[in-house]
């Protein structure tokens, strides 16, 4: 039996029933990982030795029959911008090449307590800046469905690993679509929780007011199981919400009769690939057949979302990434005669082109004389974008939309022009600006056999509605049974 193909829920059940051990499961997943890794290049580091120690510990816990979580003994991959104590955390950047944080991110501490087995850290766009994982300082991850194509980004390694069954589930982070977009390109489920739902403590910041950790899983129920484990108030994160955490798995299986589904007309305007449009519309019809009520809505400021998002994110990033200067940790350029030279050379040598571009633009929009025209303008536009959604929630319970305008593009296709790359984030970034939650679930395949995702969006702290709708759709559609040709 290929136990590496199990979903998290199934694997958890079999572990609990002692049909399999965590060591067997970990062995199977690592074997799969090693066999597919040369083709997909999803991992930056593999923690084989500690994984088996953790698996044996999990098996002991299961044997003792005490405090078992649905995640005890489950092999999980972690995006490399989430701090894992004493293990490399590089953010796919040369500037953090040998950086070993002395602490665990709050989500890692939670998963450790639950008895998770950490199999490795996944590739990403450097500091999560990118939409294709081509901006990694180390390697290019390939889409398991077509190795000539990108897996999406920035959590491309995590999405590819889950799609390829090289991890039972994975953590990613989503600043402007970095979990949902790769989930869509790779045919897995990706969740971006409400801002503040999951602690950011230990998530290496890109755009602090936008970043949120989210799971990439094989199906919707697994996503709910993961969120159960990740969510909750963290006193170490001032922006973490002190809001009760419901049992998200119990939202899976409720019916969606009478659920209002808003369809934003601006999301189906020019620029969308006809195949994607068709598949997303089919999915909405399928939900309608289950009793949901589609209605057209308008998010009139959608066309401003990209500049608004990029200005906010770049401004925050320019400051967040200032700390990488070679003084206290990370890479330091050789032969710097004075401190200014140390900073400038270290950063020039340590950062990739896209990161430098964003730092410079972020610096520019905050600098004297330009703040009002650029940064202040953008954070005012953010208010308007947020207001669009607030008005929409008066009419609808959930919003259905595409995740990305087209299926996975070819590696190198958009690298020459950063702006074209930014434009592919059009459907995912508004959520981050408004703090809301969203999920990407597979809704079919293009004629070339590439997966396409459906995005469902709900108001803040309404993840239960997301799970109810996504699960109902997924169960009736059944696309998640298809596997990539590896």
């Amino acid at each position: 039996m290929d136990i590496h193909t199990l979903t998290l829920a199934e694997a958890g059940k079999q572990l609990k029933q002692k049909k399999i051990t965590s060591r067997q499961l970990t062995q199977a997943v690592l074997q799969r990982l090693k066999s597919v890794e040369p083709q997909i290049q999803a991992f930056l580091s593999i923690a084989e030795k500690t994984a088996f120690t953790q698996a044996d510990e999990a098996d002991r816990r299961i044997a003792e029959g005490g405090d078992i979580s649905p995640l005890t003994g489950i092999p999980i991959a972690i995006k490399d911008n989430i701090c894992t104590a004493d293990a490399a955390t590089t953010c796919a950047s040369r500037i953090l090449e040998n950086f070993h944080p002395p602490y665990d991110a709050t989500v890692i501490a939670k998963l450790r307590r639950a008895g998770v087995v950490f199999i490795g850290k996944t590739n990403m766009d450097e500091f999560a800046m990118g939409s294709s994982t081509e901006n990694s300082g180390y390697k290019i991850t390939r889409n398991p469905w077509d190795r000539e194509r990108i897996p999406g980004g920035s959590s491309g390694g995590s999405a590819a690993a889950v799609a390829a069954d090289a991890a039972i589930a994975a953590l990613g982070s989503d600043t402007g679509g970095s979990v949902r977009a790769p989930a869509s390109y790779c045919g897995v489920v990706g969740l971006k929780p409400t801002y503040g739902r999951v602690s950011r403590y230990g998530l290496v910041a890109y755009g602090s007011s936008l970043d949120q950790i989210g799971p990439l899983t094989k199906d919707v129920k697994d996503s709910a199981i993961m969120l159960n484990a990740l969510a909750g108030h963290d006193p170490q994160d001032s922006t973490s919400a002190n809001v009760p955490v419901p049992d998200y798995t119990s939202a899976c299986g409720k019916d969606i009769k009478g659920l209002r589904i808003g369809i934003p007309k601006e999301y189906f305007a020019e620029g969308i690939d006809p195949e994607v449009e068709q598949l997303v519309k089919n999915a909405i019809r399928q939900m309608e057949s289950l009793g949901a009520l589609p209605i057209e809505i308008s998010l009139p400021h959608t066309e401003y979302a990209i500049p608004c998002y990029y200005i906010c994110a770049m401004a925050e990033a320019s400051s967040n990434l200032a700390r990488y200067g070679g003084a206290h940790y990370g890479y330091r350029a050789k032969n710097a005669g004075n401190i200014l030279e140390m900073y400038s050379k270290t950063r020039a040598e340590g950062f990739g082109t896209e990161v430098k571009r964003r730092i410079m633009l972020g610096t520019y929009v905050l600098s004297a004389g330009y703040y009002d025209a650029w940064y202040l303008k953008a954070i005012k536009a953010r208010t308007l974008i947020k207001r669009d959604f607030e008005l929409a929630w008066e009419k609808t319970d959930i919003i259905a939309a595409p995740v990305v305008p087209a299926p996975a593009f070819k590696i190198g296709e958009k690298s020459a022009d950063p702006l074209t790359m930014y434009l592919s984030d059009i459907y995912t970034i508004s959520l981050n600006l408004a703090g809301m939650c969203g999920i990407s679930i597979p809704c079919g395949f293009s004629k070339k056999g590439l997966p396409v995702g459906l995005q469902l969006i709900a108001n803040i702290f309404k993840e239960e509605t997301l799970f109810t709708a996504a699960y109902a759709y997924e169960q009736s559609a059944g696309f998640f049974n298809r596997k990539p040709p590896l």
Binding site: P102, T239, A327, Y329, K386
Partner: protein, 100 residues
């Protein structure tokens, strides 16, 4: 608002503020690409935001504190473990010049 294109000197200035050493031949391509991006971002100028208040956080929250109770610090060897250079448990850096 009329939009002024950023010049190679602006790029040099921003690179200095960002502490990014750029080679002279990198300046023109950066100038071009930053201009093309900013040109697109200038779309925001279509919006009238004169009566709009800014949003710097996605979720409104307020008054989050911790109590003034000491917590353990890191052991010094862990604190400096990632440092490129250390001396007697201090971080060592190249000479600090005041005129920067």
């Amino acid at each position: 608002m009329s939009l002024k294109r950023i010049s190679p000197d602006d790029v040099r200035h921003v690179a200095l503020l960002s502490r990014l050493r750029l080679a002279e031949e990198e300046i023109p391509p950066y100038t071009d690409v930053l201009n093309s991006i900013l040109e697109y971002f200038a779309k925001l100028n279509e919006l009238d935001t004169s009566s709009v208040s800014p949003t710097s956080h996605s979720i409104e929250m307020r008054n989050v504190f911790r109590e003034d109770i000491p917590q353990p610090s890191l052991p010094v060897d862990k604190a400096i473990a990632n440092a490129p250079e250390v001396e007697d448990n201090y971080f060592r850096v190249p000479k600090i010049i005041q005129e920067m």
